[in-house]
Subunit: 284 residues, 2 copies
Amino acid sequence: MATSGSSSYEIEKLQKGCYYEWMILQAKHIVDLKEALTSQQSNKNDHKLGELVGEIVDDFQKYTKRRSELSHQSCSSYFAPSWNSSLENGLLWMGGSRPSSFIRVIYAMCGSQTETQLSQYLFIKIDENIHENHGDGSMSQLTSTQLWQINELHMKVIKEEDKISKKAASLQEDAADMPIAVTAYATDLVEAGVAVEDALDKHEECMAVLMVEADKLRFETLRKIVEVVTPVQAAEFLLAKKRLYVSLHEWGRVREERRFGCVRADDAAAARGGAGKSNGSATR
Amino acid sequence: MATSGSSSYEIEKLQKGCYYEWMILQAKHIVDLKEALTSQQSNKNDHKLGELVGEIVDDFQKYTKRRSELSHQSCSSYFAPSWNSSLENGLLWMGGSRPSSFIRVIYAMCGSQTETQLSQYLFIKIDENIHENHGDGSMSQLTSTQLWQINELHMKVIKEEDKISKKAASLQEDAADMPIAVTAYATDLVEAGVAVEDALDKHEECMAVLMVEADKLRFETLRKIVEVVTPVQAAEFLLAKKRLYVSLHEWGRVREERRFGCVRADDAAAARGGAGKSNGSATR
């Protein structure tokens, strides 16, 4: 693990860059998926749609590989990234989305859960422009076999999530063990010392390993969903998932801006007046 | 839930103030506990020590009540607070410490786990000034009955943590459900709209309820530990726990400063030069 100031700063910069590159790629995926779904409607070319879906799944794997490389050098920031809003960080599981939530997106789309009627109403009502066009292959017409397979996958994914969550819990508990707790207890001087620094580095490395495991589960869940559904359904699912991801980022940002807008205004006023009344520490 | 800019800013300020007041109180508790342990050594007045322990446990409950009041108005920030370092946020469980980690502190102190020998070596080695003095009542001499009770409590607490974690997991999954997912899917415009804003408010309220539940578990765990052990052991435990908490805050801050020290220097240079080369967005 890198501990010098400059190299760790470089890593944080690379982590943030990696995230924003991924966000830009997601915006491109959204455009590509929309175009491909519209074009499939006239030419019924499932093969091309399947290729695009495959590329997008590959892109996700590449992203997780890059994250993994960067996380081994400094992992903590992935667990509550500074580039996320509080809303997103509150939704974070092991540095990303819960893979089980991918399946909930499918349920929301096909309205197979208890809220069936409302879901169908909403789905048909607000998604006429896309939904009407894809006919038999679309997500609202999953077969019972597909639904059964998706449900099986859901159960498996929840179990795997639980396993990883338990490992993370035990890792969190370990922080209250030696040498950390004992060093903390031994002295009023809150200097970490070599033993504690090593233990904290080791803690971050273990967290990185868990994040990689979680990323693998995210990728595998995605891959299996795409296997179960048709190319049209896969494209619809990926479009929904990506829009949800991008929207949550934006909604969180807007909510935060609404909350802290006045702080920033205060800071700006203080800076202009040179009064130093606010040090901006309340902003993120 | 408060949604207007100014009132939400006020709440965030109150949340942060509440946290720093608590940190100041913890520093006071550390001093009080040390003094009381030293004085108990000569006067063997367990009653006075017991009173202090009771007050400290009460103070924790008061703190959780205040947090609860503030969390109902804006909860997300408690799940990755801006006043924490990445290290601390990575260790966070439901907006605070894992109650099971309280028990791990006891294990680390009495060396009852697999690392017994190392623990005892470290404990005796570095804590001579406090440890030697408390004689038979001290944490290293927990009876087998006490250890059994602590172990029972550990198992129960882990189960309760699991229950709350599962509720949080299902809450996170719900975010991928209606109306959020469906609204996100329906349009390229990432405006939230009333239905989504309501759903996000509801989501934050549910998170607040879970945090209160977790705080209750933290308090109950503390209360039960204090019930099982002697006043001297309780004071030693609280001292260790508080020092760990304060140390982790400080160690995280120092590690972050070492990592981002150079960023701040860059920002300062950019600001002085007015070159606007850095916008400081990489800092937290």
